[in-house]
């Protein structure tokens, strides 16, 4: 350990520098903060009763097509080569798509909670807050409309309280995904009007507010496309809460500096 520590102290500090392509290589202290945040979100998900799953970093094109991903975000997906050259694969733009793939053609209990963390890739224009590659923890809820709405509300409250406990200045407000193409303007408006998406934002390193978490109601959008039903054979309702780990790290660093941020995360109460 001593050798590692002495070596680490001689390595350069990055100050959360992000490459032109939106790639991040955090230094040792930032890496500790990222891992501490990952642990706390994982603990909260498990304490809420979610079953944890791990998924590949790549996802089959067929799953993204079924999710209508390309219709909504045609330029975000990053293609990769597969070893057997059969089928096309992409770097996952979100981890919850894997959950729907896992549950495809199945009947789920009325109160289903899954959680997963993964590396996600979105080729948005890289800037101080849009990373090409980032870490996302998600909790996916499936069941009745009432259960999914209650979970979504509970996670909004839990995470907002936790952020406040960490001393983050946050705002919770209705939001819409950044749909670009004209045909998806209707989806964006519908999302806003039905308040299907809420975002928790906090000032990032540049001082402007960036979303650190989102709370989403998907109604029966994914479950009807992946044929995930309840015991009555009707499509289940679903939703998710998603946390961008590096964004939390940036917001905490902006407000407290990395050392104080780490102390606050490690000493924060276990929220259940």
């Amino acid at each position: 350990m001593n050798i590692l520590n002495s070596r680490a102290s001689t390595l350069p500090h990055s100050d959360f520098s992000i490459s032109d392509d939106g790639l991040l290589s955090p230094d040792a202290a930032e890496t500790r903060l990222i891992h501490a945040l990952q642990s706390r979100f994982r603990e909260m998900a498990l304490a809420a009763g979610a079953e944890e799953r791990q998924f590949p970093t790549v996802i089959a094109e067929e799953i993204l097509i079924r999710s209508e991903y390309f219709q909504s975000f045609p330029e975000f997906a990053s293609a990769v080569n597969s070893p057997n050259k059969k089928g096309r694969y992409f770097l996952s733009p979100a981890v919850c798509y894997h959950c729907y793939q896992l549950l495809m053609n199945s009947v789920v209990p009325e109160h289903t909670l899954l959680t997963c963390q993964g590396r996600c890739f979105r080729a948005e224009s890289a800037n101080g807050s849009h990373l090409w590659e980032f870490t996302m923890r998600e909790i996916v809820f499936l069941g009745s409309d009432g259960f999914v709405r209650a979970q979504c509300d509970a996670w909004k409250q839990r995470i907002t309280s936790w952020a406040e406990q960490l001393g983050l200045i946050v705002k919770l407000a209705p939001a819409a995904d950044p749909f670009f193409v004209a045909e998806t303007r209707g989806k964006k408006l519908l999302q806003r009007i039905k308040e299907l998406k809420y975002e928790l934002t906090a000032p990032g390193l540049s001082g402007t507010d960036v979303p650190v978490a989102s709370f989403n109601l998907h109604e029966r959008f994914f479950t009807s496309r992946f044929e995930v039903t309840l015991t009555d054979r009707e499509p289940a309702y679903s939703g998710c809460a998603a946390f961008g780990i590096e964004r939390w790290c940036m917001a905490l660093m902006a407000q407290h500096g990395v050392k104080e941020a780490l102390r606050r995360v490690e000493e924060s109460d276990d929220l259940r």
Binding site: P174, G186, L189, L190, R192, I193, K194, E195, E219
Partner: protein, 90 residues
């Protein structure tokens, strides 16, 4: 959910009546269920991503004004009555 469209009711405000006609006879044409002025319009998946665009276009033509996205929120769109009140005819 609000009342169905078949019950007895007082005469409708012309703006509400006009909008109700558009929604039931055009937007939801082909749908068995019709809505009333106080029906929660966005429940039950009645309005999808294409229908919302047609509804906005109808309101913009009717009022002669473009509706900014910030005004497209549930408080202004809950029912036909709310929409008529918030987006008056020219």
């Amino acid at each position: 959910m609000g009342n169905d469209a078949t019950g007895p009711s007082a005469p409708l405000n012309p703006a509400v009546e006009n909008l109700l006609k558009f929604v039931n006879e055009d937007l939801l044409a082909g749908s068995k269920e019709k809505v009333a002025p106080d029906t929660a319009l966005f429940d039950e998946g009645r309005i999808d991503s294409l229908k919302i665009l047609r509804l906005i276009a109808f309101l913009e033509v009717r009022s002669g004004k473009k509706i900014p996205d910030e005004l497209i929120v549930m408080d202004r769109f809950r029912t036909i009555e709310t929409i008529a009140k918030n987006f008056p005819e020219r």
